[in-house]
């Protein structure tokens, strides 16, 4: 196994287009959908439609869009309680997603899962994991399936910077390398784990350094630049599809909201937040699209409006859906094994 190199990628700001226009437009659409979805969840929370807690990802949209756009049918994903972005980027039906967060029977999980557990196996969306680190081993298993089935599929797992201090992370990194699994580790380094700044819990800011301990190829990328994320992740995905094993991509990004709805995020300064909002992934992409004359302001507004209307409608329908009322949830707990299994 050759020695991996961590390649530092500078936070990019506006850059030239390096991807086909339709890919850039697609990335913008995914990001805008995520933003619209999360903003709507935020409002819905304030309107009492969301119960318990919720973890939003505004500011981090470029990671989900850029990392997931290179995926194809048959690829698998696991993600975390902060997983709405991945689901929307992968094309989860918005109404069913809202319905789940609103606890309705039309939700992707029939209202049993909630905000922290959006899943849709038809899209390879295996699940959100509310226990830090728990999604990584599961993604390794999905990657094993891909390896057995030899169709060139891959698995991808998303996790935060804080999660790289827990045991399951380490065990999965090692296993992926030892078994040469087609597994992409996407670390969303948003500089905080809950209320703790990264440097209080980890010896350095460049999480990709972790990968070196497993001789795993890694990259650091501007996680607010969807184009850059797409390019870097694509390279790793292509290698994994050809049997080249796992890869680790650290995406530098930032969340605008608090950790969860109960967190006013007092642990960070207004300036820090403002500086990241300057580098907003959607703003950056708009600039790119316009400066390169790929889309006009009007065309962008049209996209925004369409997504906004679609989002509103999805949320509205979801909010009108019934709550589940089943007396027994035994079937949801256990599958009924068909007799033919034993035959």
């Amino acid at each position: 196994m050759s020695d991996p190199k961590t390649k530092k990628v500078k936070l990019s700001g506006t850059s030239a287009t390096r991807l086909p226009h339709k890919v850039l437009i697609d990335l913008y659409g995914r990001m805008r959908s995520i933003r619209a979805f999360e903003d709507k969840i935020h409002d819905s929370f304030l309107n009492g439609l969301v119960y318990g807690t919720t973890h939003l990802c505004q500011g981090q949209e470029a990671v989900s869009a850029g990392a997931i756009a290179p995926l194809i049918d048959g690829d698998y994903l696991t993600y975390t309680y902060r997983g709405h972005g991945q689901c929307i980027a992968r094309g989860m039906d918005m109404e069913a997603a809202f319905a789940e967060v609103f606890g309705r029977s039309t939700g992707v999980s029939g209202g049993l899962g909630g905000s922290m557990h959006l899943t849709d196996m038809d899209l390879g969306l295996i699940g959100s994991f509310a226990i830090v680190g728990a999604g990584l081993p599961v993604a390794a298993g999905a990657a094993m399936t891909c390896q057995y089935e030899e169709k060139g599929n891959v698995a991808m797992t998303f996790f935060g910077d804080g999660s790289t201090n827990i045991g399951a992370f380490h065990e999965t990194m090692n296993l992926a390398v030892v078994w040469n699994l087609p597994l992409l580790f996407i670390c969303e380094n948003n500089l905080y784990g809950e209320y703790s700044p990264i440097l209080s819990t980890t010896p350095y800011e460049d999480i990709a350094r972790r990968a070196e301990a497993y001789a795993m190829p890694s990259d650091i990328v501007d996680g607010n630049d969807a184009q850059a994320v797409y390019e870097v992740v694509s390279r790793h995905v292509e290698r994994a599809r050809r049997g080249g094993g796992p890869g680790f991509i650290e995406c530098k990004t930032y969340r605008y909201k608090g950790h969860s709805r109960s967190d006013p995020a007092k642990y960070r300064t207004d300036e820090e937040l403002a500086s990241w909002m300057e580098k907003d992934p959607l703003k950056q992409m708009v600039k790119l699209l316009m400066e390169n004359k790929i889309l006009t302001q009007k065309e962008i507004e049209a996209i925004d409006q369409e997504i906004s209307a679609h989002t509103d409608m999805a949320a509205k329908n979801a909010a009108e859906a019934p709550f589940p009322t089943e007396k027994s949830l035994l079937d949801e707990t256990y599958a009924t094994t068909p007799l033919k299994n034993f035959g």
Partner: protein, 324 residues
């Protein structure tokens, strides 16, 4: 003094930090920010980051480290953010902390406290709603207590910190804002482990823990209006289990109902019912009954979650059924 359950937890820790420099507190986001559930508010400011320590997300490491501190003469208090997270450090708790003294032939002690918060009713879904009661109460070497109100929360934690054995203090997320008049200067004592008869009655003995206690008490009111007088016992300590007050009560009421926020199989109600049957068989006019969670994980959707939790209404119904 009238304090909340949450304030009770803070107060017990402050007292210990102040009086015993072997005591320290650690957990995720419990320092600067005062804890995700605000159960360490002000302690960082008062005692500093060395003694009120934010940890990385590594439950195995910091729970194991608590054991290492305890056997070397310190008295750590660990906050585990959710009781469900005992899963990621289960080995440390049940194979390490619980058994270490024994494996050393009783030559060392392991004085540490793990505080953790569990329970349903908060719409947190299946992985953030378990009480954890029956995860750990089966292991000799541990002591396991459940705080049902601010007085319990305060006095159990104070006792746990003084105790020379590892103690798991289970708190309930639903109770954080409950208030009660608590004597902050009461003596610290193991009496806080004794099951407490919170209401007297002759018809049925109801045993409950954590958030089920207030529901049992509410049911008792309703039942009283119907002329049924139940005795309500806050069980308090799952390990070691003190059956005497329960047996005494059942010898009077001749009927037992356990109300718990756990699944039936493996719940403490089975143990309490079995021991009551075994030790007070001739006093029982009816078989002991149990009101538990249904046999599925906790659903997120509000109505389903409420339906899953044992409620005061269900307690009333069950008691009425037991008497007819």
């Amino acid at each position: 003094m009238e304090i909340t359950y949450r304030e009770a937890i803070v107060a017990a820790q402050r007292e210990a930090l102040k009086n015993d420099d072997r005591v320290m507190v650690m957990g995720e986001d419990i320092g600067v920010s005062g804890g995700p559930f605000k159960t360490t508010v002000g302690l960082f400011e008062e005692f500093g980051g060395a003694r009120v320590r934010d940890t990385p997300i590594c439950e195995e490491a910091f729970v194991g480290a608590a054991m290492g501190m305890a056997v070397t003469g310190r008295r750590p208090i660990v906050e585990l953010m959710f009781a469900d997270f005992m899963g990621v450090c289960f080995d440390q708790i049940v194979n390490g902390i619980a058994k270490h003294r024994f494996m050393c032939g009783g030559k060392v002690m392991v004085p540490l406290v793990i505080r953790t918060m569990g329970g349903g009713g908060t719409r947190f879904g299946a992985q953030h709603s378990q009480t954890g009661e029956t995860w750990v109460s089966q292991f000799p070497g541990l002591k396991v207590v459940c705080a049902a109100d601010p007085s319990d929360a305060y006095n159990m934690l104070r006792w746990a910190i003084k105790e020379d054995n590892p103690v798991i203090v289970l708190e309930h997320k639903f109770l954080f804002t409950r208030t009660q008049d608590v004597d902050l200067d009461a003596p610290i004592s193991a009496d806080i482990l004794t099951p407490a008869v919170l209401r007297q009655g002759n018809d049925v003995t109801i045993v409950a823990t954590l958030a089920m206690v207030e529901r049992a008490l509410a049911a008792a009111e309703t039942l009283a209006a119907k002329g049924i007088n139940v005795e309500v016992i806050n069980l308090r300590c799952l390990r070691p289990l003190n059956m005497e007050p329960i047996l005494e009560s059942v010898r009077k009421t001749n009927r037992l109902l356990c109300v718990e926020e756990n699944h039936s199989t493996g719940g403490w109600g089975g143990e309490v019912a079995a021991r009551t049957t075994s030790e007070a068989f001739d006093y029982l006019d009816a078989p002991p009954e149990r009101l538990t969670l249904p046999d599925w994980p906790m659903p997120y959707s509000p109505e389903l979650e409420d339906a899953a939790m044992p409620s005061a209404d269900k307690v009333v119904e069950t008691v009425v059924a037991m008497l007819t």
